[in-house]
Symmetry: C2
C-alpha cells in the first residue's frame, strides 16, 4: 500500500502531442469523425511503442492505488465495427494490468435468460466494483446499434433506450464510477483487409464469422446508428472518444493516454490507516 | 395452455367497495395517508376472507397466462416500518401463487459485495423475468429510507437517488415490466403491539431484533422519509399505494385486488401457436 508515486508522475512530461479535444465527441458539434481513420499525428511507430510502455507503468500504478482506495471504479466501453480491433485493443492496452482488479467482459449475443430481462440487466451485473477497472468489449450500445440496424426490436423500443442509457450511466457516475467510451474508427476498406486476413491465414479462421458479411453490407446504416449514439449519449460525465484505429500502435496510445489522464485526475489514494503503525508491536 | 377464462372473469362482479383512488398516492396531492391505518371500509372479516379466496383464483389464472405469454412481467414492491406485516403479506397474498413463476426476494442488509457496487446493482439482478411476477420484500427504497434516516450516506448522495429510481423504474416499464408499490400503513401504537407480541411469544422470539428499537425511536424521521418517497416516486407507470394494514385481512384484500385489477387490464394471453394443431399427427 501507498507506493510512492514514481518519478514520471512528478515530471509530468508530455508524452506525445495528445490533445483530448482531437478525439472527444463534443455534443454541440455534429462532425464527430474529425480525424481520418489512418491518423497518427506527427508520431512514428517506434517511439510510439516506447511511449506505450511508459503509459502502462502509469496505469499499473494507478490501478494499485484504485484498488487500495476501494471507493471508486472506472468503466471503459469499447465499440466498433467487426474486425476493427476490439480484441487486440483489450490485449495490447489492458493486457499489462493485473487481472485481479482489471475485469474484462466481452458481450456476445444475449442468452435466453438475458432476453427474458430488460437489455441493461446483463450489463448492470458486470459493471466494475469499487477498486476495479472494468473493460466492456461491446456493451449496452449494441442495443441501439445492431438492435436498430437489424430490426431486432421496433423503433419505439430502441428510441427510448438513449434516455435509459444516459440515466443508467448518470446513476453509475453518481455512485462512484468513471466512464470512458471509445469508438475504434476504421474505414470500410480497412475492414475488408482485416476480414481477408482472417480468410487467408489458417490460424485466423476461427475469428471469421460468415455473419459478419451481412453486417458489412449494412455499413452505411451502422455509421448512421453510431452517429446517433455519439450525438445522443456523449456526456461530460461519460464522453465518447473517436479513436483513429488503422495504426494499431497509435490507437493504443490514444486510449492508454486517455485512461491515464483520467486516472491522473482521479488521483486514487490508499485510505488513511485507522491504527497507529508505530504503535503496533509484532511479537 | 389457453385455459378458458373462468366464469368469474366474465361475471366481473364487484367483490367489495374497492376504489383504487382511496389508496393510490396522487403526486399532485400531499396528503397521502388519507385512510386511517385501522380502516376496513364497510366490510366484515368473514366475508372479506371469502373474497380473498376468489381473488386468489383470479391471480392464479392470470399468473398462468402471464407465464404462457412470456412477454411481460409484474414487480410488486412492499415497504413498511418494522413489524408492520411485510412477511405476513407475502405469505397470505402471494403464498397461493405457483412459486415457479412467482419469485419473492427479501432484501436484507447489503453484503460487502453489494456495497462494492451502486445500490441498484443487487436490485436489478433480482427483477422478475418475462412471464414472472416478482415480489420485493423491502427494495431499493431502503436506499432513500434507512440510508437517509440513519445517515448511512451523505445528503448529496441519497438526494440524487430519487431521480435514479424513477429512471430505473421507467426503463423497466419501457422494457415490459409493470410496477406496483405498496406501503403497509400502521400506527406507532400498532407497531408496539406487534413488537410486544414477538417478546411475549417464545415462538416469535426469533423475529425480534433489538436493533428494531433504534429504528422505532426514529419513527417521525421515517415518516418524513416515506413522505418524500411517496411524493417524489409515485408515477403513473409505477404508483405507490398506501394500504391500511392494521386489519390484516383487509390489507390482504386491498393488495390482492389491486394486483388482480392490474392483471385484468394487462390481460396476458398465450401466443398464437406457430403450427397447425390439427395437422400434427401423433404416432
Amino acid at each position: 500500500m501507498g507506493d510512492r508515486p514514481p518519478k514520471w508522475l512528478e515530471e509530468a512530461e508530455d508524452d506525445f502531442a495528445y490533445k483530448r479535444a482531437d478525439f472527444i465527441v463534443n455534443p454541440a458539434s455534429r462532425s464527430t469523425l474529425r480525424r481520418p481513420s489512418r491518423y497518427q499525428g506527427d508520431l512514428k511507430k517506434k517511439p510510439g511503442v516506447k511511449l506505450l510502455k511508459r503509459l502502462h507503468r502509469r496505469m499499473q500504478h494507478h490501478q494499485r492505488m484504485l484498488a487500495a482506495e476501494n471507493e471508486r471504479s472506472v468503466l471503459i466501453v469499447l465499440q466498433a465495427m467487426d474486425a476493427a480491433g476490439k480484441d487486440s485493443t483489450v490485449r495490447r492496452v489492458f493486457g499489462p494490468l493485473n487481472p485481479a482488479t482489471c475485469k474484462v467482459f466481452s458481450f456476445k449475443a444475449p442468452s435466453e435468460t438475458d432476453l427474458d430481462h430488460d437489455y441493461l440487466w446483463r450489463i448492470h451485473k458486470e459493471v466494475p466494483a469499487r477498486g476495479e477497472l472494468g473493460v466492456f468489449n461491446r456493451s449496452h450500445y449494441e442495443d441501439v446499434l445492431i438492435a436498430r440496424v437489424a430490426n431486432l426490436v421496433p423503433d419505439r423500443v430502441w428510441k427510448k433506450r438513449f434516455d435509459h442509457i444516459n440515466h443508467f450511466e448518470q446513476m453509475l457516475t453518481d455512485e462512484g464510477c468513471t466512464i470512458l467510451k471509445f469508438y475504434l474508427h476504421v474505414s470500410k476498406d480497412y475492414q475488408e483487409e482485416r476480414l481477408q486476413r482472417r480468410l487467408d491465414l489458417p490460424e485466423k479462421h476461427w475469428k471469421f464469422n460468415p455473419a459478419d458479411l451481412v453486417e458489412r453490407e449494412r455499413w452505411p446504416a451502422y455509421q448512421r446508428a453510431f452517429q446517433s449514439v455519439f450525438s445522443r449519449t456523449t456526456k461530460k460525465h461519460a464522453p465518447w472518444f473517436v479513436v483513429p484505429s488503422e495504426r494499431r500502435w497509435y490507437r493504443d496510445l490514444v486510449i492508454a493516454r486517455t485512461v491515464c489522464d483520467t486516472l491522473d485526475r482521479m488521483n486514487p489514494q490508499p485510505p488513511e490507516p485507522t491504527f497507529d503503525p508505530e504503535a503496533v508491536e509484532l511479537v
